[in-house]
């Protein structure tokens, strides 16, 4: 498969009054062309920071201190702000958890979508071409009656409709990659199913790759083809969804999958002992070692590199050295 985006050794930190939070501790993974990739992990594992770092949306007191984000041959971390703006406008789109907070409350939704088109295509915002594209994408995201929809303000929309508008804004420029950060966590379950189906359908029609950030293993199991499992600022395991659920290798992945009840689970649920570490003072070596039942001496000393154990299946664990 052809690579679209390669994240290598990405390190992002946040300066806080408590000290430096080492949020990303050398994250590496690839997104392929036409990929539908899930990035999953618990609170504070760095999944959102990863997506914001790719988009270079990390603001003070945060800082990307190392690594590269190569997108179609260019390292995004080395681009000028102006060049990066163009990437955000046309090539990588992002949608967020709270659609109503992401939309501008005082502008009509039609204008907000038109703005995205006109910036990306360098067309005047009032031109007929822009308007046509806006109508076309509104129909594509399943919003009937585009003529009246463009006149609405965000407060007139339900959460599901607002997220459809965000998807319209994200996909109207036909980007090469769509990053969705918990796109359905604020929505009801029936609406969540509609939105995830919609994203999947549209990106496959357009040949766009998608990266879905989520904490919900159900969303990964049902919608994603590949998955990146993150723990405390590191990638633990990468692979095909079915492989990861059937034959997880990393002790954390194993624990995570057994901790979630599925239909038909009987008896006691297995748990992972201990708690997620504080990233101001993360454990040395493998950050999972204090909670791991299989930890070796080396685990507390050296961070395990991520390696390919089978084609397409990567794991960062000393047990597989």
């Amino acid at each position: 498969m052809e690579k679209l985006l390669s994240v290598r050794n990405l390190r992002t930190i946040f300066h806080t009054y408590r000290g430096v939070v080492k949020a990303l501790n050398g994250v590496s993974f690839d997104v392929y062309k036409k990929d539908f990739l899930g990035v999953v992990g618990e609170t504070g594992c760095g999944k959102s920071v990863t997506s914001l770092s790719i988009m270079r949306l990390i603001e003070d007191p945060g800082e990307i201190v190392d690594g590269s984000v190569v997108f179609e041959g260019r390292d995004l971390l080395k681009l000028s702000e102006e060049e990066m703006q163009k990437v955000r406008a046309k090539e990588i789109s992002m949608i967020f958890q709270e659609p109503k907070m992401a939309l501008n409350p005082v502008l009509k939704v039609g204008y907000q979508i038109a703005e995205a088109v006109s910036t990306a295509e360098d067309l005047p915002i009032k031109s007929k071409e822009v308007q046509e594209k806006v109508y076309e994408i509104l129909k594509a995201v399943g919003l009937p009656d585009p003529e009246s929809m463009v006149e609405k303000y965000p407060h007139e929309l339900s959460g599901g409709m607002a997220q459809r508008i965000m998807i319209a804004m994200g996909l109207v420029t036909k980007p090469k990659l769509l990053i969705a950060d918990e796109p359905t966590s604020a929505l009801d379950v029936t609406i969540q199913a509609q939105i995830l189906h919609l994203i999947k359908e549209l990106v496959s029609e357009m040949g766009t790759s998608a990266m879905i950030i989520t904490h919900n293993l159900g969303v990964v199991a049902e919608y994603c083809e590949r998955v990146v499992i993150m723990y405390a600022g590191n990638v633990a395991e990468i692979g095909n969804v079915k492989t990861i659920f059937k034959e997880p290798l990393h002790p954390y992945t194993k624990g995570l999958i057994k901790a979630v009840p599925v239909i038909g689970t009987k008896g006691k649920l297995q748990t992972i002992r201990g708690i997620v570490p504080d990233l101001v003072n993360p454990p040395s070596g493998c950050r999972f070692h204090p909670r791991c039942d299989h930890a070796l001496d080396i685990c507390s000393k050296e961070l395990p590199p991520i390696k390919e154990v089978e084609p397409g299946h990567f794991v960062a664990c000393h047990l597989y050295d």
Partner: protein
Amino acid sequence: MAVNNDVLVKINSLKKYFPVRSGIFLRAKKYVRAVDNVSFTIKKNETLALVGESGCGKTTIGRTILHLLEPTDGEVIFDNKNLTKISKDELKELRKGMQIVFQNPYTSLHPRKLVKDIVGEPLKIHTDFSSVEILRRVKETLENVGLREEHMYRYPHEFSGGQRQRIAVARAIILRPKFIVLDEPTSALDVSVQARILNLLNKLKEELSLTYLFITHDLAVVDYMADRVAVMYLGKVVEIGKKDDIFKRPAHPYTRVLEAAIPIPDPFFKKERILPKGEVPNPVNPPKGCRFHTRCDYAVDKCKELEPQLEKVDDEHYVACHRWKEI
């Protein structure tokens, strides 16, 4: 009413309407019918799960049963006593037997009280135990939920989400209640922490012979925890039955939609592929007839006019749908 020893909680035609006030005199012109004519029973020692989307009234039912909210109409019978007809003092006495654990352990614990005072407060209110006795019981209860004595002298902010939820559970069980409403107790927690809280709740249920009303929207958790399941839509129970009936033989179209919509964390799990239509209507103006008809693939004219009542499908399995036999 006949005394039934198996039943701990019985609700009869329960209604809870919230006024929507508008205009300069703030007169209530409209009502949100959060719970509209709901009846069911919870047997001793069972876990009844209440599932549905946000706004369907599941949280309101939980609070109305405990009389944290006054019902608009209908009855709540707890331990053979009608809560709607008793005095305040009697209600206070009965409250010892019923407790609640809320969804968000970051907001349900007093931030400026020590854990020993949070967990000991129910004893202070309901008993005349000495402070030494209260401390002894707090310690014992904290051990029951997997916390230690040293945790008594800390504030809530010093704990993780899972530990805070343990504190909330400790507060709920310290009076040795018979019945606990669990209102999405693990929705704010990470999955590895959720597993531990679910295990704890099952352990306590056994040890203390508890009865649970488990409010949630996570079907895998329902399957793991519940004996029976009630599915709600816009203030109504649309289907109720034993867990296996609801999961293996769902009779209501909404139950099927809901089961299809909720993602199951198992890529090998085969399920029906139905994509839900439309959005949940505004509960101020619910659709006439069957409230689900606007989103239902099987709706006929009758569904738009006549409200379906719960009908018996099977032993303990009831559904409110005109067409359940055909579909």
